[in-house]
């Protein structure tokens, strides 16, 4: 745990926004999980599969059509989810608070124009002749760049929702999602910030992203199975956006906001993936630094299903076999930067509702519980880099 030189302040999660393949908003998400719904599209990209986004009524969170047109799907998903989180925290229209709200977004890049790419590659317009330049100059939509820049999800959230205290975008796949939460939390806990909007968005319905993960051999193909039953065959990308409002207890109490959960600590690490046991060992260290006991604790993991990462995470979990586990990826697919925020959001929701989400796995890894734990540890292990954990507690 970081040794802050000032006394560590209590941090609450006071707002959550989720959109995903399972629905829009907390109630729809929770209900879908209770029913064990899994929304996976095996046809559109066969043999690959994705968890497609549930339909959004964009006007409810992005009222100006002009704003909607300026964004590509990943930005619309994120801006929508951020709006839900601000609504959930009750600060959506509070200009004074929004002007002080610090924002950390974890982001990849935006959608490419696949038709332009395909036409250029088909025409063999290579760079040496300069033909590539002409095609790009003529065919690219001028404002597409703004829908691709990583920091423009945060930019759109500032424009659409008025969040303007600060704006930072972390990049780096799953680890960016962990560190976004970690830094937002550390700033509040140490008194550098009072309220923060943190989260990420991911559009999994993108052939160019499938291509990138196919290059690395990470895509789940053929049979769909829960994260624990895939034998390392990878992940199915999912679409979704997850944002959380973190707030100092003092700030929240002052405006009479109710906590969904207490965020006690967030830690992250960087194992060497070329060393066998590296992930397991880093996870052990992170767990120890949280100072929790197995008793009365549950784990919500953002496990991907990638071979090495998930096998080592499973080995770590085996050392804590009495701790109930839920892998969010089985239900939602893999949301990359948003996967750890998703595990954290579902953990908070579960603590506030007094129930774990049902198991989604038949391998024996996930089991029912008799007594609701009062702590949940969110775990994130990136498919190729980065490990993290966050400790949540129920606020009685």
């Amino acid at each position: 745990m970081p040794q802050f030189q000032t006394e560590q302040r209590e941090t609450w999660i006071t707002g959550i926004g989720i959109v995903s393949s399972l629905g829009v908003g907390l109630t729809a998400t929770w209900d879908a999980l209770q029913l064990g719904h899994i929304n996976v599209d095996r046809k559109t990209y066969a043999p690959w599969m994705v968890h497609p986004l549930a339909p959004l009524n964009l006007d409810t969170q992005i009222p100006k059509k002009g704003d909607q047109r300026q964004m590509e799907a990943w930005q619309r998903i994120g801006t929508y989810a951020a709006g839900l989180a601000l609504d959930s925290a009750g600060i959506k229209d509070d200009k004074e608070i929004l002007a002080q709200t610090d924002m950390i977004v974890a982001a990849g890049g935006g959608e490419r124009d696949l038709d332009v790419d395909a036409a250029i590659l088909t025409s063999r317009a290579d760079a040496k002749s300069g033909a590539l330049n002409e095609r790009l100059m003529n065919d690219l939509r001028p404002t597409l760049f703004l829908a691709q820049l990583s920091n423009l999800l945060a930019g759109n959230i500032s424009i659409v929702h008025g969040v303007s205290g600060s704006s930072r975008t972390f990049m780096g796949e799953e680890a960016a999602g962990v560190d976004a939460v970690r830094i937002a939390w550390a700033r509040i806990a140490s008194g550098q910030s009072e309220v923060a909007l943190v989260g990420a968005a991911h559009n999994g319905e993108r052939r160019e992203m499938l291509m990138l993960y196919e290059c690395g051999g990470f895509n789940l193909k053929t049979d769909f199975a829960s994260v624990w039953s895939r034998n390392g065959s990878g992940f199915a990308l999912g679409s979704g956006g997850v944002f959380l409002v973190l707030e100092s207890k003092t700030h929240a109490e002052h405006r009479r906001a109710k906590p969904l959960a207490r965020l006690v600590n967030v830690v992250s690490g960087h194992s060497s993936r070329s060393t066998p046991g590296g992930v397991e060992s880093v996870l052990g260290g992170l767990w120890a630094s949280l100072g929790v006991t197995d008793n009365a604790t549950a784990i919500y993991t953002a496990a991907t299903g990638a071979a090495l990462a998930t096998a080592e995470e499973a080995a770590f979990l085996s050392a804590h076999e009495d701790v109930p586990v839920r892998a969010v990826g089985s239900s939602f697919g893999h949301l990359s930067e948003a996967q750890f925020p998703l595990a954290l959001a579902l953990g908070s929701l579960s603590l506030s509702r007094g129930a774990l989400v049902p198991p989604t796995d038949t391998s024996g890894r996930e089991t029912e519980v008799d007594v609701m734990p009062d702590r949940i540890v969110a775990v994130g292990v990136g498919h190729w880099r980065g490990e993290g954990m966050a400790l949540l507690e129920a606020v009685s």
């Binding site: 040496k128 703004l146 920091n151 424009i159 205290g165 880099r385």
Partner: protein
């Protein structure tokens, strides 16, 4: 228990005062710089860069790396003396970062080789698969008509595992973390053209929180490839003065017509004053304050009243517990676009009042171009060199002053003057604003 003697009290007072001297006016650890590195189109390292910068030389040239046929802009501040084969903007960015960090870490003498005792904060451009790799996968498909279904089917089987490894957003930070042995999870940050400044700010905050005694802050950009030039061109952001590369970047001039894309990297080793002094490190300067504020007005344009820019500068002054009359020099964002330079004046004037016409305000970009994600940190390094040499590098190409921007831009020639404190501003697409305040002396 014995009553404290006079000598004991004196010793307690001394210890107390010594500890207090390590903290700033807000009782936070003072954050100092003990190592700096830089590489730009002017050259490699602080010595060469400073010599050329203070002599008013331009690093901008005609692009030779790739065919510019059909492009409106054919000039840039490319770094052609560092070769990366096969060319990839991401690999160049990584190489430039290595060079700058090597210099900074060596100067600071911190840690051991490959064992930096703190976290990494890296400002970086967004990463994506580039055209040569896309073309390679298309060729491997053997198909005549290419679409992404074809590419997707051709990309598996492990033949292109290197494409995945190279084009992960975290790949550059991962490489630096492993090479220099930084601790914990390395953070890559993008706040567009303010990324370098944000990397510094993240390091300052971590030290102030007491999480670490040291941080490695770096930022890098190797973006000059065809698609990147086209993207900025299509937004009408770039200068098209192709026949006069050295004269193309003219911040604050009436006839400015866009920025010049450029490459580069910078690195700072930050430490708490206490840690730096206890290991006897030479202190190069102090990061006295950081300010930021997001503009909610527009995706690419600042709010017309300049207030977000002004409030960002005010936030930095407040953070540094300083007033604007304590600032001796402003290292401007000064991109040479019509919009930025005007708004930068309006914002600065709103904070500094009449003083805005008197403070020297120069733009390094007149010489090195706009190094984009790296600009904030490169210009921070140059601001510290300005403080060290008591010499303000000029704004070159200032032949036709813009009467709407009555800054003292230190035109054409460097100026020798007493400079104790400098402010460096960075503004980026997406409403990103960051201001840093730097001091030469610890107290």
């Amino acid at each position: 228990m014995m009553a404290p003697t006079e000598t004991n009290l004196e010793s307690v007072r001394k210890t107390h005062n010594a500890k207090a001297a390590m903290r700033d006016g807000r009782d936070r650890p003072i954050v100092v710089v003990t190592g700096m590195g830089v590489i730009t189109s002017l050259g490699e390292g602080k010595t060469e860069n400073w010599a050329k910068l203070s002599a008013g030389q331009s690093g901008i040239s005609t692009i030779r790396r790739f065919s510019t046929h059909g492009l409106k802009t054919r000039i840039a501040g490319t770094i052609d003396f560092v070769e990366v084969k096969p060319f990839s903007s991401t690999t160049l960015a990584e190489r430039l970062a290595d060079i700058a960090i090597e210099e900074a870490v060596a100067q600071s003498g911190i840690g051991r080789k490959g064992d930096f005792p703190g976290p990494l904060f890296l400002g970086l451009a967004p990463i994506e698969v580039e055209w040569p790799q896309r073309e390679e996968i298309a060729r491997a498909s053997g198909a005549g008509t290419i679409d992404y279904d074809v590419l997707l089917r051709a990309s598996g089987g492990g033949h292109f595992a290197n494409v995945h490894a190279r084009y992960m957003f975290g790949s550059v930070a991962d490489h630096i973390c492993e090479t220099f042995g930084t601790k914990g999870s390395p953070i890559s940050v993008s706040t567009a053209c303010a990324s370098g400044a944000t990397a510094i700010q993240l390091g300052v905050e971590a030290i102030r929180r007491g999480e670490t005694d040291a941080a490695l802050c770096a930022a890098t950009d190797g973006s000059v490839n065809a698609e990147a030039v086209v993207r900025f061109s299509l937004l009408s952001a770039l200068s098209t003065s192709n026949d006069d590369p050295g004269g193309a970047s003219k911040p604050f001039s009436k006839n400015r017509q866009g920025f010049v894309m450029a490459e580069g990297a910078g690195a700072l080793v930050l430490e708490s004053l206490e840690a730096a002094q206890s290991r006897g490190a030479k202190i190069l300067g102090v990061i006295a304050g950081c300010g930021e504020l997001a503009d909610t007005f527009h995706r690419t344009r600042p709010k017309p009243d300049g207030l977000p820019i002004a409030d960002c500068m005010r936030n930095a002054l407040t953070d540094a517990s300083m007033t604007c009359n304590q600032i001796d020099y402003i290292n401007a964002h000064g991109t040479s676009t019509p919009e930025n330079d005007k708004m930068e004046y309006v914002g600065t004037a709103a904070v500094f009042g009449d003083h805005a016409r008197k403070i020297p305000v120069s733009s390094n970009k007149s010489m090195i171009g706009h190094t984009l994600s790296a600009a904030g940190i490169i210009e921070a390094v140059f601001t510290f060199l300005t403080l060290e040499h008591q010499r303000i590098p000029p704004t070159i190409n200032y032949d036709i002053p813009d009467p709407a921007i009555p800054f003292d831009v230190v035109p054409h020639k460097a100026r020798d003057v007493r400079v104790a404190t400098g402010m460096s501003n960075s503004f980026g697409f997406g409403g990103q604003n960051v201001s840093l305040i730097m001091r030469r002396e610890v107290n």
